[in-house]
């Protein structure tokens, strides 16, 4: 069950946009796609939606190939935002709702609910062209989830929104997920992915460099981050065994160590110096893992 992608490859002439991608998203899961610009995220989404035909490989949703018989169960927010500027919010959203097989009345009711939810009820009969960019984006998100889809694909849902609206949107996404929807989304913002997703896939230039549960990925990552805050000269740690990187900012020293065991030696060495405000050992952040994986390749 869920979404399965096997050996998916997409070539445009000489350029390989997606190279042998395989992953599985469980039903009801929230899954994050990470990758720099041109990593192949949007191309992958378009292939999932059957908008592009893959060069090779297969995509199945609940063991069935995705075609226009099942698209009513899928909601999609494209990265290229845009709605018909001359239509009103009501006309545009109910039209898109009806394209997903809803009745006029149901889509209108659902639209009212979501507008209230996003605190923009006053826009119901306004022309889309007259709305701010952020509000247009909210309307477009509403249009993509109005039919209560089982699988939701959101391409960069948070880009271009202010922090307040990002929170509103995150809450909505969480609620949809709680109600049973499988959600796949892409983002450049690691903290959003870390907060929302259980599993991720990092793409770089079409290749899958990492995938799996975030907790497993972090655990399997031997390198740790050690933060030391105290008023001492710790420059000697730069050459201590196991230290890979040394960064100093005012009173704070951040060390990247090869393994957790080295932390013990360092702790013992520095604790003789006296009082420290903080000494901690943490798993690397997703940001660090991403930069390392993508930077290396």
């Amino acid at each position: 069950m869920g979404l399965s992608i096997k050996n998916l490859t997409m070539r445009f002439n000489e350029h390989t946009a997606v190279d042998d991608l395989s992953l599985h998203v469980e039903q009801g899961e929230m899954y994050g796609f990470l990758g720099g610009n041109g990593a192949g995220k949007t191309t992958t989404f378009r292939m999932i939606l059957n908008l592009l035909k893959p060069t090779s490989g297969s995509i199945t949703w609940n063991d069935k190939h995705i075609n226009y018989d099942v698209t009513d169960m899928i909601g999609y927010l494209p990265e290229d935002r845009g709605l018909h500027p001359k239509l009103t919010v009501e006309e545009q959203v109910t039209y898109l709702g009806r394209l997903k097989g809803m009745s006029q009345k149901d889509s209108k009711d659902a639209l009212k609910y979501w507008l209230k939810r996003f605190d923009v009820s006053e826009n119901f009969s306004k022309k889309i062209g007259s709305l701010s960019k952020g509000n247009q984006q909210k309307i477009q998100l509403i249009a993509s989830i109005i039919h209560n889809p089982k699988l939701i694909i959101l391409d960069e849902p948070f880009s271009g929104l202010d922090p307040v609206n990002v929170e509103l949107l995150k809450e909505a996404v969480k609620e949809l997920n709680k109600n049973g929807a499988t959600i796949i989304f892409s983002s450049h913002r690691m903290e959003h992915v870390e907060e929302l997703c259980e599993s991720i896939c990092i793409l770089n230039k079409g290749k899958q460099v990492l995938s799996g549960k975030i907790s497993d990925i972090k655990r399997s990552y031997k390198e740790k981050r050690m933060t030391i805050v105290g008023n001492y000269d710790l420059a000697f740690l730069e050459n201590a065994p196991g230290v890979l990187e040394y960064t100093k900012m005012n009173e704070t020293v951040i060390l990247k160590i090869a393994e957790e065991s080295y932390a013990k030696d360092i702790y013992e060495t520095i604790s003789s110096l006296g009082y420290f405000k903080k000494i901690s050992v943490e798993d690397p952040t997703l940001n660090e893992i991403f930069i390392e994986k993508v930077g290396k390749n």
Binding site: L49, Y68, T71, P78, D80, G101
Partner: protein
């Protein structure tokens, strides 16, 4: 409701409810009614009144001559002694000089009547002075006969000889209607397609419904709205024809429908529909090349050229529907809808040629729709770069 019907109905309703559509329809209907009542309107603006009386100031001989000749030319003008309108006639050795002073503006009918009377008066005077008999004048005016006979059969077919004028009028109306409907609605199709693409909403639409279904439903809706408009024009034209007194005027032209009038109308309607389908599908294809609205006009240029080409060939050949140009152009798919119905008024065109034309059109329409959906599917997600780049990308894959 099935998605095709849903798109069709909502696109159709959106079209016919649009202000532009309602206004152009109303204005055209108003123009149709005005056109059929033009004689009444011309009379309303034609302020120059006919004069009833005139006083002639001239030497007695000229005055008497004018008085006797005037009734031949005008039944309304009477000669009195105290009219406010005066005509002064003077004669030197060879010519008559005259001057009319009127209160109101002199109508062209009255002016002609006076002019003709003066000419006749002059002629009479010259005849009398030179002793020329009226018979001699009549003999002088006899025209020489010229009879043209041609032995070649081809040549006689090019002429207007056998063409029924009523059928020619039908052709004119069909060609005009076809040209304006095609140009107008092709622009709309291209505009709609390009707008959906450039506003990026298309990606959401095609994630719900197949591009082919969407495209065909959209184009069908526009064709239906065009047909609605044509129907409104025809009905209002019929009502205007029946209610105005222009049918008197038409009778004066001696327009009579012949036995092939009904087949001609049927063929015209068939080609109007086929032409709309062909050109609107082409417009959809051209519209889908565009990723910015600024490029739209440029992209539909080829369509305009083809349409103008077909229209002009047909228009200029309306009196000579048997020429080689017409025959060959009638088999070129983009000219067929304009030129093939024209060949109906040429008695030498067989029905089988018309069927060939319909088959050519049908094949072309299927090909164009296939090509359009092929291109549409590939081009809707290409939103950057120029048209030429898009075209390259579409066919490279």
């Amino acid at each position: 409701m099935n998605k095709f019907l849903m798109i069709l109905v909502s696109a159709y309703m959106q079209k016919v409810k649009a202000k532009a559509y309602i206004f152009t329809t109303l204005i055209s209907v108003a123009l149709i009614f005005l056109g059929f009542n033009f004689n009444i309107i011309i009379d309303m603006f034609n302020k120059s009144e006919e004069i009833n009386t005139i006083t002639v100031q001239a030497e007695p001989k000229l005055k008497v001559g004018f008085e006797t000749l005037l009734p031949n030319n005008s039944e309304t003008i009477k000669i009195t002694e105290d009219s406010s309108n005066t005509l002064i006639i003077e004669r030197d050795q060879h010519t008559l000089h005259s001057e009319v002073n009127t209160e109101a503006e002199l109508s062209s009918d009255d002016k002609n009547a006076i002019q003709n009377t003066l000419d006749q008066l002059h002629q009479t005077l010259v005849m009398q002075e030179n002793n020329i008999t009226p018979e001699a004048i009549a003999e002088l005016n006899t025209k020489t006969d010229l009879i043209v006979k041609t032995t070649s059969e081809e040549a006689s077919q090019d002429g207007l000889g056998d063409i029924n004028p009523a059928n020619m009028v039908i052709m004119y109306v069909t060609l005009m209607l076809m040209f304006f409907i095609i140009i107008g609605y092709a622009g709309q199709v291209a505009n709609d397609i390009a707008q959906e693409k450039s506003s990026r909403v298309i990606e959401m639409i095609v994630s719900s419904v197949s591009p082919t279904t969407h495209l065909v439903a959209k184009v069908s809706a526009i064709i239906l709205s065009a047909l609605t408009q044509i129907l409104i024009f025809l009905i209002s034209g019929y009502i205007a024809f029946k209610t105005s007194n222009i049918n008197e005027a038409v009778k004066a032209f001696d327009l009579k429908f012949s036995s092939d009038t009904i087949p001609i109308i049927i063929i015209c309607i068939i080609y109007l529909l086929l032409g709309l389908l062909l050109y609107l599908s082409l417009a959809a294809m051209l519209g889908s090349f565009v990723s910015r609205m600024e490029d739209l006009q440029q992209s539909i240029m080829p369509l305009s050229f083809l349409s103008i080409g077909g229209f002009y060939i047909a228009m200029f050949s309306i009196a000579t529907p048997g020429t080689l140009l017409v025959k060959s152009a009638s088999y070129f798919p983009f000219f067929t809808p304009y030129v093939m119905p024209l060949r109906m008024i040429d008695p030498d065109t067989t029905m089988s040629e018309q069927y060939i034309g319909i088959v050519i059109m049908t094949i072309s329409i299927v090909l164009i729709i296939w090509l359009t959906t092929y291109i549409y599917k590939r081009s809707i997600l290409l939103t950057e770069g120029s048209m030429v780049k898009s075209i390259k990308k579409i066919f490279n894959k």
